[in-house]
Subunit: 449 residues, 2 copies
C-alpha cells in the first residue's frame, strides 16, 4: 500500500534529525518506498536531507537520488565526491544514470565515469550520453531481455533467467537474429503455453512496433499512446536492437511538456512551481511582464497619436480596454487551438483551407459580438455613425486578431520554433497593439477627425 | 514497424471505396494496426467509413471501434442494431466495453447488454458500469491473472496458462488469499528463477501498491507516476482484488486533463480541436468571448464615470490599455501557478504564508515595472505628481491583480469547483475591471479631479 506523507510525519522526521536519533530514524524510514523518502527529503532543509542520506544504504539512496527534485539533487550531489557519486550510479539503471551524469558540471562527469565499477554498465551509460535528450536515444535504457530466434523455448527460458538476474523487472522479451537485428517479441503468454522444444522462430510475434534512436521524443510519446504500448524497442539505422523505452519515462515527458505549454501560455518563462522560492518565482514571472509592459507602452503611444479625437469623440477612449480585451481573447483562443493541433498532429489541409475556416469562425463570432456592442453603444448614447464606426472597426480587429493567433504559431512551427511560444502574453500584447491601431485608424477614416 | 498515414494513402482508400473494389481494399488494410485503420476512417466521410467497417471481421472492427474518435464512433454505432453492437462488445476488453456501452443512449444500453453472448463477460461489464467515470473503478478492467498464495510454482504456471488464454497480454501476476484479498505480486523474474515446487507464499512480493475503487482518477495518475507503475491493482473497501488499471488508460486521462486545462486557460468552453467543424469551433469559442465582452462593457462604464478627468488629465485615458494588460498578465501568471500547484499537490503551508509570498513577488516585480513606467511617463512629458500618481496606482493594481489570481483558484478549489476555471479570460476580465477602477479611483484621490 502506498504511504501518505503528512505534515506530522515530516515533523517527526525533523525531530529525530534534531535529536540525532539515527536508530529510530532508520526504523521509521525502512519500509518506505524510495519515492516517498525522496518526497520527505524535498520537504526538509538541505542539511537535514544530507543527514538522512548518510544513514541509508547505497541501494536505497541511489533510488532516492533518482526521485529527488532537480535542484535538491544538484545540491546533494555537490556534497559528494566523484567516487561516492559513482557508487550511487552503479546501482542505477542506465537511463537514470545517464540523465544524472548529464546534469553534473562538465569537469566532474569524466571523473565520475572513471570511478564506475561495472565496466559494462559504464560503457552503456557513456553510449546513452551520445544521444540528444529529446530523442528516442535520450529516453531509452539499455536494460532489456533478448533471445535469438534460433533458440528453443527451453534455451530461451534459461537465457532469460540469466539476463533477468541483472535487471529489475521483465515485461517483454525481444527476439533478434544473429546480427542483433530486431525481429519481434515473445509474449509471456506464448512462453507459458508453448512446448519446451518449440523454436522461438515458430512462436514469436513479428509485428513489433519500434522507434529509431533519432526519432523525437514527441513522436515516441505519440506512438506509445496510439498503440497503447508499455515498452517500445529502439533500433539504430540498421535495425539493430540498441535499447528500449518504458512508458514511465514517456509519461514524465508528456507531463513535463504539458506543464511547459501551460506555463508558456500563462507567460512564465522558467519552470516555476508554487513552492519555489520568491526569487525563483520573480525570475520566472518578470520577463513576460516586462515585455508586456513595453508592448503596452507602444499602445499608449499609438493612442496618444489619435489624441485630437478627444474633442469630438472622447467616447472612443472609453472603448480602448474593450478593444484590447476582445483582440486578446480572440487571439489566445485561435493560437491555443493551433498550438494544440500542431502538438497532436491534427493540422491537416492547406493554408488556404485554414484561412477560410478561421475567417468564417471570426466573422460568425465577430458579428454577434458586434451586434451586442452596437446595442450597448446606442444605450450609451452614441450616434448611429459613431456606433457604425465602432462596429466596423471592432469586426476588423476580431478578424485580424484571429488571423494573427492562427498564423503566428503556424509560421513559428514551420521555421522550427516551438509554436507554444506564441500564446499568452505574446499574442495578447501584439493583438493589443494591432487592435488599438486598427480601431483608431478606421474610426478616423469613418468619423473624420 | 508503425505505419505512417499519408494523404496519398487516404486518397487511395477513398478511390477503392468509390470503385467498390472490396478485394483490393481488404488487401490494402489487412496488415494495418486497428489504431491506424481508425485514423484512416476518421479522415474519411461517414459513408466511406461505414463501407470499410462492413468489410472487416468483427475482431478487427471491435478494435477499430475502440480507437475511433468519440463522434465518429457514435455515428457508426447509430447504424448498427443492438445485436451487432453486442457482437463487437463481445470482442472487447471489459474496460473498453463498459466505456462504449456507457456512451450509448439509455434505451439501447440494456438491449445491447441482453445480447451479449459471454455471460461472464457481460457480468463484468455491468459491474464496471457502476463506478464513476473519474474513479479508479471507472478506469479499471477486469482482465488480470491471479493465483492463490498456497499454490506451488508449478500449479501457479498451470493456472496462469489457463487464465492467460482468455486475456490479451500478461504483465503481472497477482497473489491473493482464499478470500480473494490481494496479498502481493509475482514477478516474471521470480517465476523464471524459482523451483517448480516452491510455494508461491515463499516467493511473492508483499509490498504491492494498490488503489481503491473509489479513489479519484487524479490520485491514480499521481500514484502510477510517482512509483513508475505500468499496472496497478484495484481493491474494494475490504481489500478484495476486483480489477486493475493499465498505464495506457492513465496516459489518456493525463493527456485529456492537460488538454482541458490548457483549453480552459485559453477560454475555450468545449473540447474543440483544430479539425472540428466551423460550427463546433464557434460554439466552443463564443461563450468566453461574450463574457469577456460583457466584462469589458463594465470597464467602459467605469472609465466613462471618470470622464471629468479629460479636461486636465487626458493622458490617463492613454494609459488604460497598459493598466488592463499589466493587470491581466499578472493575474494569469498567479492563477496558472496556483492551478498547476493544486493539480500537482504542491500547495503547502498556510494561507498567510501564501499571502506573504504573493505580496513579496508582486511588490518586487511591480516595483521594477513601475520604475520603467515612471521613466516613460517622464519622457512622455507628464509632470512629477502625475507620474507619481500613475506609479502608486499601477503598483496597487499589480498587487491586487496578483492576489485575485492567487486566491480565486484557492477558493474555488476549497468549495469543490475545478480551479482551472479561474484562468484565462475569467482572470483577465475581472482584473481589467478591478484594475481600471483602482487606477482611476486612486488617480482621482491623488490628482484631485
Amino acid at each position: 500500500m502506498q504511504f501518505e506523507i503528512t505534515k506530522d510525519f515530516i515533523e517527526e522526521v525533523a525531530q529525530l534529525i534534531a535529536t540525532k536519533d539515527s536508530t529510530q530514524l532508520v526504523e521509521l524510514l525502512k519500509d518506505l518506498h524510495p519515492a516517498d523518502i525522496a518526497e520527505v527529503l524535498d520537504d526538509l532543509s538541505f542539511d537535514e536531507a544530507v543527514f538522512v542520506m548518510r544513514l541509508l544504504d547505497s541501494e536505497t539512496t541511489s533510488d532516492i537520488l533518482e526521485e529527488l527534485e532537480d535542484d535538491t539533487r544538484a545540491r546533494v550531489l555537490e556534497q559528494l565526491t566523484p567516487k561516492e557519486i559513482a557508487q550511487e550510479i552503479d546501482e542505477l539503471e542506465t537511463d537514470a544514470a545517464a540523465d544524472i551524469i548529464a546534469e553534473l558540471p562538465d569537469e566532474r562527469k569524466d571523473r565520475v565515469i572513471a570511478h564506475l565499477d561495472d565496466k559494462e554498465h559504464a560503457k552503456d551509460i557513456v553510449d546513452l550520453m551520445r544521444y540528444d535528450e529529446d530523442s528516442a536515444g535520450g529516453l531509452m535504457g539499455k536494460e532489456l531481455v533478448s533471445v535469438n530466434e534460433n533458440f528453443t523455448v527451453k534455451h530461451c527460458v534459461r537465457e532469460m533467467r540469466r539476463q533477468a538476474q541483472e535487471i529489475g523487472e521483465v515485461y517483454i522479451v525481444y527476439v533478434v537474429d544473429d546480427e542483433e537485428v530486431l525481429k519481434g517479441r515473445l509474449s509471456l503468454k506464448s512462453l507459458l503455453t508453448a512446448n519446451a522444444n518449440t523454436a522461438v522462430k515458430d512462436i514469436y510475434k513479428g509485428d513489433i512496433i519500434s522507434v529509431k534512436t533519432t526519432d523525437h521524443a514527441d513522436e515516441v510519446a505519440q506512438i506509445m499512446q496510439k498503440y497503447d504500448l508499455f515498452v517500445v524497442p529502439v533500433v539504430d539505422q540498421l535495425g539493430h536492437l540498441v535499447g528500449n523505452i518504458t512508458i514511465d519515462d514517456v509519461v514524465d515527458y508528456i507531463k513535463d511538456e504539458a506543464d511547459k505549454d501551460y506555463q508558456m501560455a500563462a507567460g512564465l518563462t522558467e519552470d516555476v512551481v508554487a513552492d519555489d522560492s520568491i526569487f525563483e518565482l520573480v525570475k520566472g514571472r518578470f520577463p513576460w511582464l516586462a515585455l508586456g509592459l513595453f508592448g503596452s507602452i507602444i499602445s499608449v503611444n499609438i493612442i496618444s497619436g489619435f489624441g485630437s479625437a478627444m474633442t469630438n469623440y472622447k467616447e472612443l477612449f472609453f472603448f480602448t480596454p474593450l478593444i484590447a480585451a476582445v483582440a486578446g481573447n480572440v487571439g489566445v483562443q485561435s493560437s491555443a487551438i493551433m498550438v494544440q493541433g500542431l502538438a497532436n498532429n491534427l493540422i491537416k489541409g492547406s493554408m488556404w483551407h485554414r484561412l477560410f475556416k478561421e475567417l468564417s469562425i471570426s466573422l460568425l463570432n465577430g458579428s454577434i459580438l458586434v451586434m451586442i456592442v452596437v446595442v450597448f453603444s446606442h444605450l450609451f448614447g452614441l450616434g448611429w455613425l459613431f456606433s457604425l464606426s465602432i462596429a466596423i472597426s471592432l469586426l476588423t480587429v476580431i478578424i485580424i486578431a484571429s488571423l494573427i493567433g492562427t498564423f503566428i504559431p503556424l509560421i513559428l512551427n514551420r521555421i522550427g520554433i516551438d509554436p507554444a511560444l506564441a500564446t499568452g502574453p505574446f499574442i495578447t500584447t501584439s493583438n493589443d497593439i494591432f487592435g488599438l491601431f486598427i480601431f483608431f485608424y478606421l474610426s478616423k477614416l469613418i468619423l473624420g477627425f
